[in-house]
C-alpha cells in the first residue's frame, strides 16, 4: 500500500546554537547548493531559534533541539547526508538522544476498513461500559530496539488530518539514546556513527511497521 503523504525527520536532543544555522552557513560548508541557500525561505535566525525552508528541506533549531525534515522521498538520503555533514563539522556538540522519525498518511478504501484499524488496535469491549461510543483518537505503542543500541521504538497511530477520505496517520519514532543517562551528554560524532550505520535499517523497519498497520483494516 502506497502512502498518500510521507516524510522523514531527524531530531536531536542536545545543546545547540541556533544563530549559526543560517542557510548561508550550510552553503558555505558545501552542505546545500548555493542557489538553494539563496532561495531559502528564512523565517528566523536568532539565538533562540533558527527556522528556514528550502524546496526540499525544513530546518528548525532551538537551543535544545535540532530538527531537519523532508517530505520528499527522493531527498531522504540527502537529508541524512546533510545531518551527517553538519555534525561531522560540529562534532563536539553536546548531544543526548536522536530520533529518526517517519510519518505516513494512508488513505483506506472505506469507512469499514478505517474503523477496523481502530478496532484491531484498540478493541472497544472494555470501553463500552464506561464510555458512550468509544473510539480511538491516538494510540502509542513502545517496543524495544531490535539492535544492541539504547533507546526504543514508538509507533503512534491516529486518524489522519491530511488525507481527505478515510485516512490514518502512522508515526514511527526510532529513538536512540546516545548518552547513558538523560542528564549526561556525548559529543555528536555518535550521531554521525548511528546515522551512517543504522539509517537504511531504520527507514526500512519504519516502512514495514506502517504498512503492517495500514493493512490491518483490510476486509477479507
Amino acid at each position: 500500500m502506497q502512502p498518500e503523504i510521507q516524510g522523514v525527520s531527524i531530531v536531536l536532543a542536545g545543546q545547540f546554537n541556533p544563530a549559526m544555522f543560517h542557510p548561508a552557513w550550510f552553503a558555505a560548508q558545501g552542505l546545500i547548493r548555493r542557489q538553494e541557500a539563496e532561495a531559502a525561505e528564512t523565517k528566523i535566525v536568532h539565538p533562540n531559534a533558527a527556522v528556514f525552508e528550502t524546496e526540499w528541506l525544513q530546518m528548525r533549531v532551538l537551543p535544545n533541539q535540532f530538527h531537519a525534515a523532508t517530505t520528499q522521498e527522493p531527498y531522504y538520503e540527502v537529508l541524512r547526508d546533510l545531518v551527517v555533514g553538519v555534525f561531522d563539522l560540529l562534532s563536539h556538540t553536546p548531544s543526548r538522544a536522536m530520533g529518526i522519525n517517519r510519518n505516513f498518511h494512508y488513505e483506506l478504501g472505506s469507512k469499514e476498513e478505517w474503523n477496523s484499524v481502530g478496532d484491531r488496535l484498540a478493541p472497544k469491549q472494555d470501553w463500552e461500559n464506561v464510555l458512550d461510543d468509544p473510539g480511538m483518537s491516538s494510540l502509542t505503542i513502545q517496543g524495544k530496539r531490535p539492535d544492541n543500541l539504547d533507546g526504543y521504538i514508538h509507533v503512534k497511530v491516529e486518524p489522519s488530518r491530511r488525507v481527505s477520505g478515510f485516512g490514518i496517520y502512522v508515526q514511527v519514532n526510532d529513538h536512540y539514546q546516545l548518552s547513558s543517562t538523560p542528564e549526561t551528554w556525548v559529543n555528536a560524532s555518535k550521531v554521525v556513527d548511528v546515522l551512517s550505520e543504522h539509517w537504511a535499517e531504520s527507514i526500512q523497519r519504519s516502512l514495514r511497521i506502517a504498512e503492517k498497520i495500514a493493512g490491518l483494516g483490510a476486509i477479507t
Binding site: 525544513q58 520528499q72 527522493p74 547526508d81 474503523n115 491516529e158
Partner: protein, 204 residues
C-alpha cells in the same frame, strides 16, 4: 485557568497544518465506532508566554516519549514541545504542497568521467532489480553539482511522479551527496598520515 485539554487545543492551534480542512484543535473522527465529527474542543484565548509550565502537560509520559519526536512537519500529533520550551514560540514550518511519489530510486557511484558523460554503478534503494551500470549525460546534472562529479562520488537518482497544484509530472531527479569540505586542519592531518605511510612503505 486553562486546563490541560484546552492547553493542548491551543498548542494544536499554533501548529495546525495550514492545508487541513478540519478545524485545528478538533480531533477529526475516531477510529472505531464513529458517528461523525466531534464537537470542536474549546480553545481559550491564552497567552502561552505567561502560562505556568505545569499547566501545559499534554502527554502523561512526554519526557520519555517525545524528546526526539519531530514537530508538525506533516503529522497530526499535538505533542510538540516540552512545556518549559514554550517561553518562545518559533515560527511554524509550512505544510509542504508538493508531493513526489518515487517509483524507483538508486544510489549511484561514479566510476569514470568522460567529456560529456559519466559512467556509474546503480544500486537500488527503492524498487526491485539488480545492480546496473549506466552512462549519464553531464547535462542531466544541476550546474551546482557538476563540480562534485568524480570517480567515487555518490549520488541518488529517483524516478517518479511529482504532484503539484498544477498537475502531475513524471520526474527524474539526480542529487549528488554533499559532505563537508575539508578543513585546513583535516588536510594537514591527512598529509601527515600520508607522509607516515610513505615512510613506512619507503615510497619515493
Amino acid at each position: 485557568m486553562i486546563s490541560a485539554d484546552s492547553s493542548l487545543a491551543v498548542v494544536e492551534e499554533l501548529f495546525a497544518d495550514e492545508t487541513s480542512s478540519y478545524p485545528s484543535g478538533t480531533p477529526r473522527k475516531f477510529l472505531g465506532y464513529s458517528r461523525g465529527y466531534n464537537e470542536p474542543a474549546p480553545v481559550e484565548e491564552a497567552n502561552l508566554l505567561n502560562l505556568p509550565p505545569e499547566e501545559l502537560l499534554i502527554a502523561p509520559n512526554r519526557d520519555a516519549v517525545d524528546q526526539t519526536l519531530e514537530g508538525r512537519v506533516n503529522g497530526t500529533s499535538a505533542t510538540l514541545f516540552k512545556s518549559d520550551q514554550l517561553v518562545f514560540i518559533p515560527p511554524r514550518l509550512s505544510t509542504p504542497k508538493k508531493k513526489f511519489r518515487v517509483l524507483q530510486k538508486w544510489e549511484g557511484y561514479v566510476i569514470e568521467v568522460e567529456q560529456d558523460t559519466f559512467f556509474a554503478r546503480l544500486v537500488p534503494i527503492v524498487g526491485e532489480g539488480p545492480d546496473q551500470e549506466a552512462e549519464i549525460y553531464l547535462e542531466e546534472i544541476e550546474p551546482d553539482d557538476r563540480i562534485l562529479i568524480e570517480p567515487g562520488a555518490v549520488f541518488y537518482w529517483s524516478i517518479g511522479y511529482s504532484d503539484k497544484p498544477a498537475g502531475r509530472e513524471r520526474v527524474s531527479l539526480i542529487r549528488f551527496r554533499r559532505l563537508p569540505t575539508w578543513t585546513r586542519r583535516e588536510l594537514e592531518i591527512a598529509r601527515t598520515k600520508a607522509a607516515k605511510l610513505r615512510d613506512l612503505f619507503d615510497v619515493e
